[in-house]
Symmetry: C2
Subunit: 349 residues, 2 copies
Amino acid sequence: MKQGKITIIDIAEKTGLSKGTVDRVIHNRGEVSAKSREKVLKAIREFGYEPNLHASLLASGHRKNVVLLIPSPASGSFWTLSAEGMKKAAETVGPLGIDCKTVTYDQYDLASFRVACDLVLDSHPDGVVLAPMFHYESFSLGERLHAERIPFVLVDSKIENKNYLAYFGMQEYASGYLCGDQLSQGKTMERVLIVRISPDRDRQADPTAGRRTGFLDYLAEHCPGCEVIQTFVHPSDPVQIRQAMEEVYAAHPDIRHIVMFNSRIHRIVPFLEAHPDPQRRVVGFDNLAENMAALRKGTISVLIGQRPGEQVARAIQALADYLLLDKKPAQKDNHVHMDILTRYNIDYY
Amino acid sequence: MKQGKITIIDIAEKTGLSKGTVDRVIHNRGEVSAKSREKVLKAIREFGYEPNLHASLLASGHRKNVVLLIPSPASGSFWTLSAEGMKKAAETVGPLGIDCKTVTYDQYDLASFRVACDLVLDSHPDGVVLAPMFHYESFSLGERLHAERIPFVLVDSKIENKNYLAYFGMQEYASGYLCGDQLSQGKTMERVLIVRISPDRDRQADPTAGRRTGFLDYLAEHCPGCEVIQTFVHPSDPVQIRQAMEEVYAAHPDIRHIVMFNSRIHRIVPFLEAHPDPQRRVVGFDNLAENMAALRKGTISVLIGQRPGEQVARAIQALADYLLLDKKPAQKDNHVHMDILTRYNIDYY
DNA sequence: TGAATTTCCGTGCACGTTCACGGAAAAAAT
DNA sequence: ATTTTTTCCGTGAACGTGCACGGAAATTCA
């Protein structure tokens, strides 16, 4: 079909009303009699009127702004990848009348998240992209946004709040299961080391729990009797990490399979390189620069990527579609592909 | 920075000229003195003028149309995936004033390609997305488009013509190399079967040659002395295919590694399922529905995906950016990621 | 019945470009 | 110096929608 040439004025003529009235019913802002309203609605349906985006944006000059609320992208961390996606998306929706900005918080500090939430609300955004790290507070932010009729999109992980416009993230459980297959290469394993980040009391949401469950299920189904060793390391302190690893290694010198379910696998790379073992298989998550470097060197066997940049880009796009064309996304829950990254395909990621 | 509030009229005032003149230099359509031209250009740079897309599109009401020239997407074939990407991209650029349509040809019939080329040129498109199957004719189409100043973007494979605006495709050589690693799982192989499509005289371009080279290089480096067996099958005739496979199998009953470099690996699935072998490893290319089904069942071990939909979507986007904002893509040659697909991550592709 | 409300609706300008038209200024020809 | 041509530039009407303003019609009140 040809693009709708019919304008708001055509509708006005067909109905014998004026464009002002037609405009009022389109944006249903009242001051229209029920009868006229019906007539206009009918004509719109009948003649297939579609608003001209450009004329609309031009006339109502004001730009919309969406804010992205994510943990601070420390250099080289997972969230820098998200920030990059945001930048790219901002470029595409910018000329369409959407301004993007970012508000960050410390993902290990609940108070900073609360501050960030208030900041977001105070800026009266037209839309929000949220990476929820703290369950309860994210939920309540969702409630507050919903109360102000501000649409929000979730990335990375979900919360129970059902008011979100859309969600973009990785299938947690399935990625853990996949991880099992990549670690084992389909053969049975006898002993597996899971390296975990020390739990943080304030941190209420653990996005890696689902992955761990999927992984353990894979083990149960494909490697019955496999011994699972777990060790906990500090999120950043290299000395503590090294020491913890050395201890496990001393206790189990024959460990050949190592896995981490968060993006910090690069933290144990120094240890791994101090104890080289060509037979060893190491699987981690996310395409951080340091992870990729270790992958190229062969220290890490496989990374599972979730395209964080694409997640936020799609989130912003969804928000733009909603704000501009008020088109809701086809499905609320969208899962990005789980990328298997090896040294042979990492260079074109 | 705030979004450029300065308009063409501001520039006019700054320079003491009129908006008409400013407009003329912006679209450099002549009829302006060198002096005025310089003044305007300087002011534009100085004050950072950026054209308002909406006003522009609104005023110059005419829509642009781009055409996608690809092989006929036979049901379930590789090109249906491209067509889907086109559909999605069309939805996003549609409201921006770009109409997309598709012209198809028989990828095994040169004459049909010639006809398609003429069809494309006769429709006087504003931009073209081209999947070149026939080298020489594609080259000459490129020349003709360039002569008419019609920008074109290549997908899937490249041609020598340097006038293309951009290229989106997979790294052929690297994907073959990757294929070797996935087939062998890092261990040395002793015997490998490569299944190829019978060469077609008229078909001048073979996109799989690069993959084969990469694969053989992997073999040379990691599996020295590995025996390579090749067999040729008809592109579609199931009977011939089955027979050819049976013959190879009879001659080499101990084949454990099978690979195909085109998207037709599903053609040998019936054979594979008639001769089950849990030890066997099979690697193919592209996420056709039938390939994916075989992957789920375990008949195929790994598929290497190249996101054909994303390729054309990005191609169309690049064309749109050029036509609308006349912004050239950051880099001409863009390689999409080589996806490793297994039964464990295929469901969210 | 007339006045005071309330409800509803039409008018007209603005948004930033594009582009055809026509005219002034400069250059060339007589 | 006058006419003709060329070069250059300003003007103003679209494009389709948003929205403020004011006024007509319908309703309520006195």
